[in-house]
């Protein structure tokens, strides 16, 4: 099949960007979306033109590197699927496809389709961990954890930190991302000693980074490739309120 692409090109963080048209010809339905872009890039490269910059690494939906807004939707049309797992059989001959980077003040564009997501690292650095040094940990079976609790914690821990939730939110809120980590540790006994400090510090950091607040639109949940539910946000809010009350 042949497709018409409109792709965001931006030379650098300070440069103005614009959508540029490219043709993607002889696209096989078995290609992944990123492989389709590889082929376009290979054509550009051979002609000595600069390749379209986009990020990816694992190409199997787990590293959270790929980050494309495809026809207005972060990671494209398939639910629970990262852009790298999206396949071209989802499109048909003659389709126009617009490809843009994540858009959020806290994720500035580095080049073309690549943004800077280091704000997420700083949120984790503010408190997204259990403060244990290496060595001296008690036996792994010292604290039994009910299976359903461990499973629920794992559901939250599955977040890949891609940032689609932010890109989909009209407030550019990082609540789904934060709440996934906060939930994991609020559920597990290992996270309890620091739970109040953690939630307060992470939310403060997110505010400082320029992420917006949550107004319960639910767009984040709809685009999350790991289908992390917004019930995590409710849990985070409870944790936050408790922490605030206890601080008084």
């Amino acid at each position: 099949m042949n497709l018409k692409l409109r792709i965001w090109r931006q030379a650098g963080p300070a440069a103005a960007g614009r959508l540029v048209e490219y043709a993607a010809d002889h696209v096989s339905p078995d290609m992944s979306f990123l492989e389709m872009l590889d082929v376009v890039n290979e054509g550009l490269t051979k002609k000595g033109e600069e390749a379209i910059a986009f990020d990816s690494d694992c190409r199997e939906g787990i590293c959270g590197t790929c980050s494309l807004v495809i026809n207005g939707v972060p990671h494209g049309p398939d639910r629970g699927t990262t852009a790298c797992q999206l396949h071209m059989r989802r499109f048909k001959d003659g389709d126009s496809v617009t490809i843009e980077p994540w858009r959020a003040a806290a994720f500035p564009v580095v080049k073309d389709l690549i943004v800077d997501r280091s704000a997420f690292d700083r949120i984790i650095a503010a408190g997204g961990y259990v403060s244990v040094n290496c060595g001296g940990a008690p036996d792994g079976n010292a604290i039994p954890i009910p299976k359903d609790v461990a499973d629920l914690a794992m559901d939250s821990a599955a977040c890949i930190g891609c940032g689609a939730c932010v890109a989909a939110c009209k407030n550019a809120s990082a609540h789904l991302f934060m709440s996934a980590k906060i939930s994991q540790f609020a559920l597990l006994p290992q996270g309890h000693p620091e739970r109040h400090r953690r939630v307060t510090a992470m939310i403060a950091q997110a505010d400082g980074e320029g992420f917006g607040s949550c107004s319960n639109e639910g767009e984040c949940q709809a685009v999350c490739p790991k289908e992390i539910p917004i019930s995590n946000i409710a849990r985070m809010t409870r944790e936050y309120v408790k922490a605030a009350l206890l601080a008084k």
């Binding site: 199997e60 590197t65 396949h87 259990v130 792994g140």
Partner: protein
């Protein structure tokens, strides 16, 4: 050069304890005066950087990705081994040690492997304390499964995302140290050279991948945890940014490279669908517990699988290996798939696949049980191939998965360049000629959490290190070297795509240095690789400029290094005229077609010294001795 592995004396079970006592310590107040450069944020790098930061060292930590959390380790699925014996099924440190030495086909160092087995139990404790959500049983205790043909259940797992959860645990510890300011993080940086001053590793040159700037970093020791080199085959299960560049540039500065020909192939990957293919996706090995592998008996049989009657199918693994059947080890399963394809009995459009059929399992257990066990894998398979494996058999084919070879290190994980330490998949140390399932995660974390924090202190306390700054001539020389190579890449201005050349290299490697190697195929590769390298430098097109984000330039640099490294891999394979583990030489097999070792001549690690591009490297041999586990011939009949 004589290779001294620095193996401590005493009984095998006491070596590490004894060594820990004998090693020198750095005074706690002095630790912050030492700067340690850690390259890599996978399991090995992140755990090392976090632990060294906790001890009070001043750590500089680098990675290629935009965040340390995205390192290749994130993709590991199956699990991590530990000799906890929680299942009361006869496991022990000694048994894990024994299995690992045997699994490595007697080409690893006993003392290292024993230490790895000992430390495995501490890893689980550490990860649980960090809040890693391992799978649990109803009673609340940790669950285990049996993995990769092990006879005991010692594998800990977090759904199908064990690597992700372990890496996030290490990453979070790392970010805590970043917050404490003991670790400084440099993401989107690529190490392009090692700086050696007075014979010791004292720094690195890195390119800032966002701005293109060439940056210099000085320190008192350097730790490489930069992963494996599977992408020399172009297609592999590795993440796209995986590379040999850091290790290769260190090799060029004097670090010996050991056993590069020890590569591992995984039998159950989704087959290639066309030239556009950029990577291969692994399907968990556990599928072979219930799936039956077959191909048509007849050559070139293009009928749909459901039209091929039972008596015209060849369940070749069950036929050839009646006692292990579909559960033979990775290398045996892989080679047999290739053989079927070579005979013209492969399936699918390309003929480069075999069936993995669940029909009998579904009839026996019901579709719900299969769904419960493998639902996510079947779903992934469908996403990629658009086929429903509940109805038609899966098509699978082997792919490059892991590399056992790597920079040579001694018991302290130090390379032949004093001060340069190498951890994780990047070193060669613990898996010999073949790695067992769920043991790479274990090794990466053992190296980072529990070995390097001790051994690097010993190094720092044992040497005198005059202050070195980045104005030193060695830094200037290395950064000019890096600049020169970048200028050269950009100035070829040819018309061939980088990917096209990488793909061609991959084809040479897969066909001639892949699953089954012969004297003739290796010699053919040794002719073809330098030719392709010359072609690369004459005709590659690398558009763009050096002074901003330029992915073509990054990629071209890595392919250029692979074009040098591939020759070493092929040479090592040629000189090792025996079969062992993942290295199969057709000339060396038993009458039944099994890998046949030649212990009399090849019980050593081959450590290669760089002598220049295109000139033959010098081999140094570290003899291996087996005092505990006595070499035997494998048999899976």
């Amino acid at each position: 050069m004589t290779l001294d592995a620095q193996i401590p004396g005493g009984a095998i079970a006491e070596k590490w304890d004894r060594h820990k006592f004998e090693m020198k310590l750095v005074n706690p107040a002095n630790k912050r005066k030492y700067t340690i450069i850690v390259v890599g944020t996978g399991l090995a790098g992140a755990s090392a950087a976090a632990s060294l930061g906790e001890l009070g060292y001043n750590v500089l930590n680098f990675c290629i990705q935009d965040s340390p959390r995205r390192a290749h380790s994130i993709a590991a699925q199956g699990g991590i081994n530990a000799a906890k014996n929680y299942q009361n099924d006869g496991d022990s440190v000694y048994r894990l040690f024994y299995d690992t030495v045997k699994g490595g086909d007697y080409r690893s160092r006993e003392a290292n492997v024993y230490r790895l087995a000992q430390l495995s139990v501490n890893i689980i404790d550490q990860c649980v304390a960090q809040g890693v959500p391992f799978a649990r049983e109803y009673g609340g205790l940790l669950d285990n499964r049996s993995f990769g043909g092990a006879q005991v259940s010692r594998t800990f797992y977090a759904r199908g995302q064990t690597g992700q959860q372990l890496l996030l645990g290490a990453y979070q510890s790392l970010m805590r140290q970043v917050h404490e300011k003991s670790v400084k993080l440099f993401a989107r940086r690529e190490m392009l050279d090692l700086v050696v001053v007075d014979g010791k590793a004292r720094g690195i040159i890195a390119r800032n991948l966002s701005t293109g700037e060439i940056e210099r970093y000085a320190g008192d020791a350097v730790v490489l945890a930069t992963g494996g080199y599977g992408t020399v085959y172009y297609l592999s299960t590795n993440a796209l940014n995986s590379n040999v560049t850091a290790a290769w540039r260190a090799h060029k500065r004097g670090a010996l490279f050991a056993n590069p020909c020890f590569t591992q192939i995984h039998p159950t990957c989704i087959p290639v669908s066309g030239d556009h293919q950029s990577k291969l996706t692994l399907m968990s090995e556990s599928l072979r517990n219930d799936g039956r592998v077959w191909v048509p008996k007849q050559k070139g049989d293009k009928r749909r699988p459901d039209q091929i009657p039972e008596d015209e199918r060849d369940y070749y693994l069950e036929r050839k290996y009646p006692s292990f059947g579909n559960l033979v080890p990775r290398d045996v399963a892989s080679r047999n798939a290739k053989q079927a394809a070579d005979e013209g009995r492969g399936v699918g459009e390309s003929g480069l696949a075999v069936y993995l059929d669940f029909k009998d399992a579904i009839n026996r257990l019901g579709v719900d049980v299969i769904k419960e066990k493998y639902g996510n894998l079947f779903q992934m398979y469908q996403k990629i191939t658009d086929e429903d494996a509940y109805k038609v058999p899966m098509r699978i084919y082997p792919a490059i998965h892991y590399t056992m070879g790597g920079l040579w290190v001694d018991y302290n994980l130090m390379s032949t360049v004093p001060g340069l330490h190498v951890l994780g998949e990047a070193n060669f140390s613990d898996h010999g000629a073949n790695r067992l399932g769920a043991s790479a995660l274990m090794q990466g974390l053992a190296d980072g959490y529990f070995v390097i924090p001790y051994t690097i202190g010993h190094y720092l306390a044992s040497v005198t290190l005059p202050k070195v700054t980045t104005d030193h001539a060695a830094f200037k020389d290395a950064s000019e070297n890096v600049q020169g190579r970048i200028t050269k890449l950009l100035s070829v201005k040819g018309n061939r795509g980088i990917r096209e050349i990488h793909r061609e290299l991959g084809r040479i490697m897969w066909d001639d240095v892949g699953m089954a190697r012969t004297d003739a195929s290796l010699r053919r590769a040794l002719q073809a690789i330098p030719k392709l390298r010359d072609e690369f430098w004459q005709s590659v097109s690398v558009p763009g400029t050096p002074d901003n984000l330029n992915q073509s330039l990054e990629y071209a640099g890595r392919v250029a290094d692979y074009l040098e490294f591939a020759e070493l891999l092929a040479l090592d394979a040629l000189e090792r005229r025996e079969s062992c583990g993942g290295h199969f030489r057709e000339e060396s097999q038993t009458p039944e077609g099994e890998a046949l070792r030649d212990d009399a001549n090849f019980t050593y690690a081959a450590a290669w010294e760089f002598t220049g591009v295109g000139t033959k490297p010098t081999v140094h041999k570290e003899p291996l001795t087996f005092e505990e586990v006595h070499p035997t011939q494998r048999s899976y009949k």
